[in-house]
Amino acid sequence: MSLEQVLQYILSGVTNGSIYAIVAIGFNIIYNTTGIINFAQGEFLMLGGMTAISLAAFVPLPLAILAAVVITAIIGALVDFVFIRRLKTPSVLNMIIVTIGLSIVIREIALHVWDEKVRSLPYFTGSEVTSVSILGAYISPQVLWVLGIAAVIVVFLGFFFKFTLTGRSMRACAANMTAAKLCGINTGAMVTVSFMLSAAIGALAGCAISPITQTQYDCGTPLAIKGFTVAILGGLGNSTGAVVGGMVVGMLEAFSISVLPLAYKDAIAITILLLILFVKPSGLLGKKEAAGLKEF
């Protein structure tokens, strides 16, 4: 394998890895405050992308993306208000089932609101044929946008959870819901905020990747499965873990392509995940208690 080729695979792995990482971070935000894995996370990306594409026909691109992020965040809040809060017995099993149901319903509604066709946002800079050369490997400028947005999200979240009152309250909820409540934190509101934040991040990511991956009513589910894989691999609730996990899965996929038939790509990433889980059930960077904490 030539150096350019290795570099090309690395770039490909980083691109996909950062997309997976953003989805996984979305999972983590909600998981941390509620203990729920929101299987509808992929649908937030789809909704963000689809809404922005529809709006981009009327308003300038940045405005369309902003509006899409806001609208999706509102949908995220609605998901919490209408469904999550009303769960009578919030066991892990029930949570999994209800969010899977949500994911299916959002997807199918999108199919009937839009249609089965693919759409995409225009490239933020350049066009379909622009390409940036890095040491003999090539990437689209949009990839740089995706990487940049991923980095901004990670930094923003780090800041948010460390230095803002809301962020710190959310962390308190994550550590101990009852204790947080006793300290006067409005835990219900924190759950809503986490859903909105997670939806907004998903929507932003959905817009950023749309020019590369294109957007379609059912593009959320495969992303959610990948994001879930990455979140588990990195250790649930751990944002650094999500980034590390994303890169590991992205790289594994990229390099597995170079030696094995592409048809088994997904199977390889998941097999490795399973092996890691069998050896270390709490994921790469997860704490041991975290795995045992949230049971059925």
């Binding site: 017995t89 099993l93 299916i104 199977a267």
Partner: protein, 364 residues
């Protein structure tokens, strides 16, 4: 006591016979086709109910076990042994493990007996379920969900990416499964009634087996595990062993269903291994009320039947997704839970009394 235990099963058997007679009398035997298919899917659902409801372990990859059964029998019974000159194929023929049947083009083909492929499929599924069950069942909560989901995806990918399994097209023209005498699992419209009974008997047998299991010492152990694994462990219950046993058992149920439905349909495709299929099974168990075999059975039959008849049109997935949400929000104990049934019972009793008890035999 013994009578009380078996009365519901006997009632179900009676309902099956009544239904068949009703359809025949009304000249609507074709309803039995989808009902037969639904019955096989129900077998998967029953196994999953014991795993999820009684042992408290979620599996989002049960479609994989169904596909293992279906594809194993499809591949093995499609091997042409007509020209078996030597080696293993010859040995198979000499041992009397092969049968001949006429394919779609009127040509007589000698192939492996489906009995053999059934045994192979069950052995294969047992081994796989056992091997992955040991590490997977040590996981809990979301990690268990992810691991089973992952297993399902791996099997789906293998099915979809391997030419032996026909890739996206799946396998077609699979011969009938001759059980004994004139009894055969096949999609032939002439054999519809007997196929309905074959499926019904299999389903009843599975049901009785599981009812006995949950009523036995093992069943109590399982419920203890569901309640609190630590407590069960402390009381001396071999939790890991029981969980594994139920996991393997439910996998075998799915596998057997896969074998029979594949012969009934005469074909199998990758959609049987799809994640959405596993999710559908979980949905039906949830609707049935998790730890409620009768509920799972009833909902499994009704929902699969309606879906297979295209009753929901292009809203099929939306309906299943919606059901998941509504059930979890409003009926977390399932639609046919004791409480809901109590309310329903009042209405049903009134209905039956009002009509002088004639309302149940399916006649207009």
């Amino acid at each position: 006591m013994r009578f009380m235990k078996h009365a519901p099963v006997a009632g179900l058997a009676a309902a099956i016979v009544i239904f068949q007679l009703a359809t025949t009398l009304l000249g609507r035997e074709f309803y039995l086709t989808q009902l037969t298919m639904a019955a096989y899917y129900c077998l998967v659902i029953l196994g999953l109910t014991v795993l999820m409801g009684y042992a408290g372990q979620i599996s989002m990859g049960h479609a994989a076990f169904f596909a293992m059964g279906g594809y194993t029998t499809a591949v093995l019974t499609k091997l042409d042994l007509s020209a078996a000159a030597g080696g293993l194929p010859r040995l198979v023929v000499d041992l009397g493990l092969s049968v001949t049947s006429v394919n779609a083009f009127g040509v007589e083909v000698r192939h492996l007996s489906p009995w053999v492929s059934l045994v192979v499929a069950v052995l294969l599924t047992t081994t796989v379920a056992f091997l992955i069950g040991i590490p997977i069942l040590r996981l809990k909560g979301h990690y268990l969900a992810m691991a089973t989901l992952g297993f399902g995806i791996i099997v789906y990918r293998i099915v979809l990416g391997t030419s032996l399994f026909g890739e996206a097209d799946g396998i077609s023209d699979i011969p009938a499964f001759t059980l004994a005498g004139g009894l055969a699992v096949s999609g032939d419209p002439e054999l519809r009634v007997q196929n309905f009974y074959i499926a019904a008997v299999l389903l009843l047998a599975g049901l009785v087996l599981l009812l006995n299991l949950i009523d036995s010492r093992s069943g109590r152990a399982l419920r203890a595990i569901h309640g609190s694994e630590e407590a069960a462990n402390a009381m001396g219950v071999d939790t890991a062993g029981f969980k594994l046993m139920v996991f393997v058992l439910s996998a075998v149920f799915a596998c057997v269903a896969g074998v029979f439905l594949t012969h009934f349909n005469g074909g199998v495709g990758p959609s049987e291994a799809d994640v959405m299929k596993s999710v559908t099974y979980v949905a039906i168990v949830a609707v049935g009320g998790m730890a409620n075999l009768w509920g799972a059975l009833a909902m499994g039959i009704v929902l699969n039947y309606l879906s297979l008849r295209g009753y929901f049109g292009s809203y099929d997935e939306l309906v299943f997704g919606g059901i998941l949400i509504v059930i979890m929000l409003f009926f977390p104990e399932g639609l046919l839970s004791a409480r809901n049934l109590k309310n329903l019972k009042g209405a049903a009793v009134r209905l039956v009394r009002g009509k002088g008890g004639e309302g149940a035999d399916g006649r207009p």
